[in-house]
């Protein structure tokens, strides 16, 4: 394994890959700083920049963008109390308080150092878990894939949005959208309504850009815009004191382990990981300084969400199954460059796998080195008026959607999903289950039909296999628990 990793580092240290990693981190942070545009939107927006690269370089750049945008989100949380994405919501609590006390630099440094520690440990976990899971997954047949999909979708829906039932609906709508286009088995079209553009199905990138980018611009148009006050950061403030450094380390280590384990579970892992870590840190420190600018409240959650990212990469790289929109975006990046992640990915594209691992590590170091001195530059993008920035973002989305197939139709798809995302927001439907449902749908259907043929039409045969049975049982119990809780809550609120 160490030899393979060493090989990965050798490839990652090539000039072109280093450059891709560097540019990915810088662009990811720059766009991630914009409030509202989280990692998913940022990756969608910046995907076209990877078109000119070779597959390895492109994936390296995507990973850099992912990490960069996560870090950019924390910057706005600390300096503006506006979380750039849901995962850095927790950072607002203490980060902004620290900034108000004149320790913005130290808070940003704590986030960067915490993320670096977590990124490093998370990658060690990824190195250990992903190849073993992939080996195990080689024994998986179609019934197991059905079970994993059901398990992932149920857990994701239970954990996202305002109500699980709404999330189930979003997931089902995603499954339907996945039906559009050519049927995987018979090769005949479905729900294309006579349009040739729909025969190959909907593209994931315009769909995500619409739901996460364009919808955000619509929401922006609706709100009254007020000038934000950015807390200035001075260069000498950037370095935490020795005492602060001592306080950063333990929460970062705890956050890393917690985050990685949560990242393995399907669902909005990064958000849950940061919230859990905040709770743990508050309990450990007895809550005295928490909410008033405790550095532990920044370092812990920031580390947790970063290592959750690495954890979420395990099912992605080992099984080829994304359980969150951000990893779904990564997988579409893989596919655009002709790589299909799955159990065979690590063995067949071993060099690429280890290069990705190495470049993710390098990305963490680049972010640490880059972000601390340049945080002022990144924050200054917030000073540019939204009336100038938003139109450019919209045009970038349109060019990005167009660039996938050089087709105007994809821009139309993106705009339609922009409206859908905006309406989803109005009726409190989270789009994440829709995206994951859309990605997993075709694979799920193929697995379902193959399993039925394999079992001679015996549905019980799919359920009573050890791995698929266990996963389906967990999914069923989780579903039953959520539904019971929902009805009990309703009954209780009616009685009240």
């Amino acid at each position: 394994m160490l030899n393979a990793l060493f090989g990965g580092f050798q490839t990652a240290f090539s000039m072109s890959n280093l450059f891709a990693c560097f540019i990915g981190c810088v662009m990811g942070t720059l766009v991630g700083v914009l409030p509202g545009l989280g990692p998913v939107g940022t990756m969608g927006l910046l995907l076209p920049f990877t078109y000119a690269l070779d597959p390895t370089g492109a994936i390296v750049m995507m990973a850099g963008i992912y990490y960069g945008s996560m870090y950019g989100g924390s910057t706005t949380s600390i300096l503006l109390k506006v979380p750039g994405e849901a995962a850095s919501m927790v950072t607002c609590f203490d980060g902004y308080e620290m900034a108000k006390k004149g320790r913005a630099g130290a808070a940003l440094a704590a986030a960067a150092i915490g993320s670096w520690i977590a990124g490093t440990l998370g990658l060690v976990g990824l190195m250990i878990f992903a190849p073993s899971l992939a080996k195990l997954a080689l024994a998986f047949g179609p019934p197991e894939y059905i079970a994993i999909t059901v398990f992932g979708l149920v857990l994701l829906s239970n954990l996202t949005g305002t109500s699980p039932v709404r999330s189930y609906l979003a997931a089902a709508l995603g499954l339907f959208l996945g039906c559009i286009g050519m049927d995987n088995i018979s090769g005949l079209p479905r729900f294309t309504f006579g349009s040739m553009n729909l025969v190959s199905g909907l593209e994931i990138v315009p769909l995500i850009m619409g739901l996460y980018g364009v919808a955000e611009i619509f929401a922006f148009l609706e709100e009254s815009q007020e000038e934000r006050e950015i807390i200035p950061v001075r260069y000498r403030e950037l370095y935490p004191t020795r005492e602060e450094l001592k306080r950063i380390l333990p929460p970062s280590l705890r956050g890393s382990v917690l985050g990685f384990l949560i990242g393995l579970i399907p669902g909005p892992a990064v958000v849950i990981a940061s919230l859990m870590s905040y709770k743990v840190e508050r309990r450990i420190s007895k809550g005295s300084e928490f909410g008033k600018g405790a550095i532990e409240g920044v370092a812990g959650p920031e580390s947790a969400n970063n290592s959750a990212t690495a954890g979420a990469m395990v099912p992605l790289l080992a099984l080829g199954i994304p359980f969150a929109p951000a990893t779904a975006m990564l997988i579409s990046g893989f596919m655009i460059h002709g790589i299909a992640p799955g159990p065979l990915f690590i063995t067949q594209h071993s060099a690429m796998f280890w290069t990705i691992i190495a470049s993710m590590y390098i990305g963490n170091v680049v972010l640490l080195v880059l972000n601390l001195p340049l945080v002022g530059v990144f924050a200054s993008i917030l000073r540019v008026k939204s009336a100038i920035l938003m139109p450019i973002v919209l045009l970038l989305c349109m060019v990005g959607a167009f660039g996938i197939n050089n087709s105007i139709f994809d821009i139309g798809v993106m705009l339609v999903f922009g409206v859908i995302g905006y309406l989803f927001n109005k009726i409190q439907l989270d789009p994440s289950p829709l995206v994951v449902g859309f990605i997993l749908g075709p694979q799920f259907e193929t697995a379902m039909r193959q399993s039925l043929v394999m079992m001679g039409g015996d549905v019980a045969g799919i359920i009573f296999r050890p791995i698929s049975g266990t996963l389906l049982l967990i999914a069923f119990l989780s579903l039953a628990f959520t539904i019971t809780k929902y009805f009990l809550q309703k009954r209780y609120s009616n009685v009240c």
């Binding site: 039932v165 189930y168 089902a172 499954l175 479905r190 705009l415």
Partner: protein
């Protein structure tokens, strides 16, 4: 004089019709915003039904060899059942404050933006990326609250040229030339 009178009457009648139509439209909009959740779940129910009907039309086959319509029927059933459940379980009317907030939102600007973007999609192949994107950016900046003309013009020119060089020349995206051929 008679003709003029007739015209005035006609215009007046038309005007009245427009007023009546607008009245209906605003009532419809108000009802939509009051029942926005129910409307949404009704629409998702329709999607579910389309899915089921479409599935049956494609043919569902029989076990173990399912046809291409079986899966859409299965998904359509889930969508329909969940939509019916949500339709009946969401509150019929939102609170007054909520509906007023909904009405106060700036829906008009979004409609204008959508119309302009639809026009862009329709015309970009004929007119070309450079010219149309320049006007789009100018328009968007003004729509989003940028005042004056100098800044929007400068920003639009720079952005369009940078995008052209970056995407067309460097990243090989086939942005439409339209009227300007390079």
């Amino acid at each position: 004089l008679e003709i003029r009178n007739l015209n005035v009457k006609k215009v007046w009648a038309l005007n009245k019709q427009i007023v009546v139509f607008y009245d209906y439209y605003s009532k419809f909009q108000k009802t939509l915003s009051l029942y926005k959740e129910k409307t949404a779940f009704f629409l998702t129910f329709i999607i579910g039904v389309i899915c089921i009907v479409g599935g049956f039309n494609y043919g569902i086959g029989s076990l173990p060899n399912l046809d291409r319509g079986a899966y859409p029927v299965f998904v359509g059933l889930i969508i329909s059942v969940l939509s019916i459940f949500l339709f009946f379980s969401t509150a019929g009317e939102e609170t007054k404050a909520e509906s007023e907030a909904g009405l106060r939102t700036n829906g008009k600007r979004i409609m204008i933006l959508l119309l302009v973007l639809a026009l862009y999609v329709l015309l970009v192949n004929q007119i070309g990326f450079l010219i149309l994107s320049f006007f789009l950016l100018m328009f968007l900046q003004r729509l989003m609250g940028q005042t004056g003309w100098r800044t929007p013009v400068v920003i639009s020119v720079i952005t369009v040229i940078v995008f052209w060089i970056l995407f067309k020349k460097w990243l090989n995206v086939q942005l439409p030339d339209g009227l300007l051929k390079f």
